[in-house]
């Protein structure tokens, strides 16, 4: 088996694919903690549906998918954020409306304007659940992914303290002079970017899993913001590397394989938490 892995990794395109997968998972994990704690998980999910719609339109009009999807998703991110903060329209139903609407329109457009494609349901399936194989990436895809991923990582490190402040207590942050609105929008827009670069690899429907699973697993066990972030990144890197290699070996689609590993890690962390909790409550404790 090791020989087989070594053989795979002697090919440059395998390296490219793995680099993209690792970077995408890293970005998703970095943003995940904040998104989960800010109750933005649904926004991430909604955005990925919007991204699917945008990709379909790009395919129908034979434009470069990234060039259409990126701006549409980023604008949708800001829009969804506004909806979520608007107390008059219920945020969750608005998001559900937009995401299922985008999904429906996307598939409709794909069917109305096949744009030279002979296998519509195959195309849709790829966009929704990721490429059947990790190796379907072009060089431009890889380059764009790498640039965008580094932009996201830079954004996160540079604004780490501000992200913590607006996540922990938004009203305190804005009352004491931090422009919470701007950072919220930046966070949502960055999420949009991550979704665009992750879609090709893991598929629109599965991106949310990459974003929320590492954070939720880490929050079971770790108790400070920094340790949760670091742990999420480690979990995510581990799952993407192991998942990526397994998908090559077993010939399974990348996205679902990586997500399956994330689910396994979540169950393990959850069990650790339960175990710790049980030990604590059995020990004599002062209320």
């Amino acid at each position: 088996m090791l020989q087989l892995i070594a053989m795979y990794f002697s090919q440059p395109f395998v390296w490219f694919a793995m680099i993209v997968l690792v970077l995408v998972s890293l970005c998703a994990a970095l943003l995940g903690t904040s998104l989960v704690l800010k109750r933005f998980s649904m926004i991430g999910d909604g955005l990925s549906h919007v991204a699917f719609g945008a990709t379909s339109i790009a395919a129908a009009t034979s434009l470069a998918p990234m060039a259409v999807t990126t701006p549409v998703t980023v604008v949708a991110a800001v829009l969804l954020l506004r909806l979520n903060n608007n107390s008059k329209i219920k945020g969750d139903s608005a998001i559900a409306m937009i995401s299922s609407g985008a999904l429906a329109l996307g598939y409709l457009v794909l069917n109305l304007f096949p744009g030279g494609s002979s296998n519509i349901s195959g195309d849709a399936c790829t966009t929704l659940f990721g490429s059947a194989s990790i190796l379907g990436l072009t060089k431009t895809d890889v380059a764009t992914c790498i640039i965008l991923a580094f932009a996201v990582i830079f954004f996160f490190i540079f604004f780490y303290n501000k992200i913590f402040a607006i996540t922990f207590d938004e009203s305190f942050a804005s009352a004491t002079g931090t422009k919470a609105e701007i950072y919220n929008s930046l966070l949502a827009m960055t999420t949009g970017v991550v979704i665009v670069i992750a879609m090709k690899m893991v598929g629109a429907l599965l991106i949310s899993a990459l974003i929320i699973f590492p954070a939720l697993s880490s929050m079971r066990v770790f108790k400070s913001f920094r340790s949760v972030i670091i742990s999420s990144v480690c979990i995510s890197l581990f799952c993407s590397v192991v998942g990526g290699i397994s998908s090559m070996l077993a010939g399974t689609p990348v996205g679902p394989t990586v997500v399956a590993f994330n689910i396994a890690v979540f169950i393990i962390f959850w069990a650790i938490d339960c175990f710790k909790g049980a030990r604590k409550s059995s020990a004599p404790e002062k209320a």
């Binding site: 501000k162 996540t167 922990f168 207590d169 009203s171 942050a173 004491t176 108790k223």
Partner: protein, 305 residues
């Protein structure tokens, strides 16, 4: 120029005014206590002062070149999420954020400032503990330490002592007084603890949908409300007294009986909230007793009426 000037301010939600005709000015170094019943618009006023909410009409101006990054704020407990993974040090340090401007990271000075404020509040030993696992009183002190990190000119406190035990309450008041007197920080505090408000503040703003009083604490004591408040405060324990006083206040203003019933309902709701937030040991049985006492007091008064 005054630090804060309110002129004919009207505050409310979605077109419904809660407080009307607010007029007051606050000078640098003042210590203002805002008192009044539940739902009278105290927290709404605080949110407006913090710039989290627009006034419906009227003017609110800040003088003396007061900038937002010179303001510290202690929210009511419910403002912070309960399942948040954050260490105490991370929370306190986040108060220093507004001094950083665009600079992305905290420096040694910020960390020193955070440590000093944690020491002041006696929470240094909690630095690496998880915020959500602390008791209500400890959480309150963590948030105050954060507010102290953020402030250099103005400190706003929304019921700072709710859920604290008597000793910590006194420490907290002394600390706030020291900040006000020694460091010249202007303090605005919402309080139900009327006896403390009268002891420590320089000014009182009493609101109940419309401002009933604004002025120096000494002159407040001479007004009808002031006498009732302080009289009630003498008779029973501090916290109980403030809430009892709220009720007796609305009674004395010859509100209808149903109103005073509502008030006592509000109070008991409030009590149970405090209890949830605080998860406090001893306070539970006490506050239950308080509520019972209040209710019986109310019934007596209604009988008298």
């Amino acid at each position: 120029m005054s630090l804060i000037t309110c002129k004919d301010l009207v505050l409310g939600y979605e077109g419904h005014p809660i407080v009307t005709g607010l007029n007051f000015t606050l000078e640098n170094g003042d210590y203002l206590c805002i008192v009044g019943e539940n739902g009278s618009g105290k927290s709404t006023l605080m949110k407006t002062l913090l710039g989290l909410k627009e006034p419906m009409s009227g003017e609110l101006t800040f003088g003396d070149g007061l900038r937002k990054n010179e303001v510290g704020y202690l929210p009511q407990q419910s403002g912070v999420q309960k399942d948040f993974p954050a260490s105490v040090f991370e929370v306190v340090l986040s108060g220093c954020l507004n001094k950083r401007g665009l600079h992305p990271f905290y420096g040694a000075m910020d960390k020193e400032r955070a440590r000093r404020n944690m020491e002041r509040l006696g929470i240094t030993h909690l630095a690496n503990r998880c915020y959500r696992e602390l008791s209500g009183g400890q959480q309150q002190r963590v948030l105050l330490a954060r507010a102290l990190c953020a402030t250099t000119k103005l400190l706003l406190l929304d019921e700072p002592v709710s859920g604290l035990d008597p000793k910590v309450t006194i420490d907290m008041y002394e600390l706030i007084r020291a900040l006000n007197r020694d460091e010249g920080i202007t303090v605005i505090m919402i309080s139900h603890d009327i006896s403390a408000a009268l002891t420590y503040s320089t000014h009182i703003l009493h609101i109940s949908h419309e401002p009933r009083f604004f002025g120096r604490t000494e002159s407040y004591l001479k007004t009808e409300y002031g006498r009732i408040f302080s009289g009630a405060a003498g008779s029973t324990a501090a916290k109980c007294a403030s809430e009892g006083a709220d009720n007796s206040d609305s009674d004395s203003n010859s509100d209808s009986n149903s109103d005073s019933n509502n008030d006592s309902n509000n109070d008991s709701n409030n009590d149970s909230n405090n209890r949830d937030n605080a998860q406090l040991h001893t306070a539970i049985s006490e506050s239950e007793a308080d509520t019972a006492e209040e209710n019986s007091e109310n019934h007596k008064k209604e009988g008298d009426n």
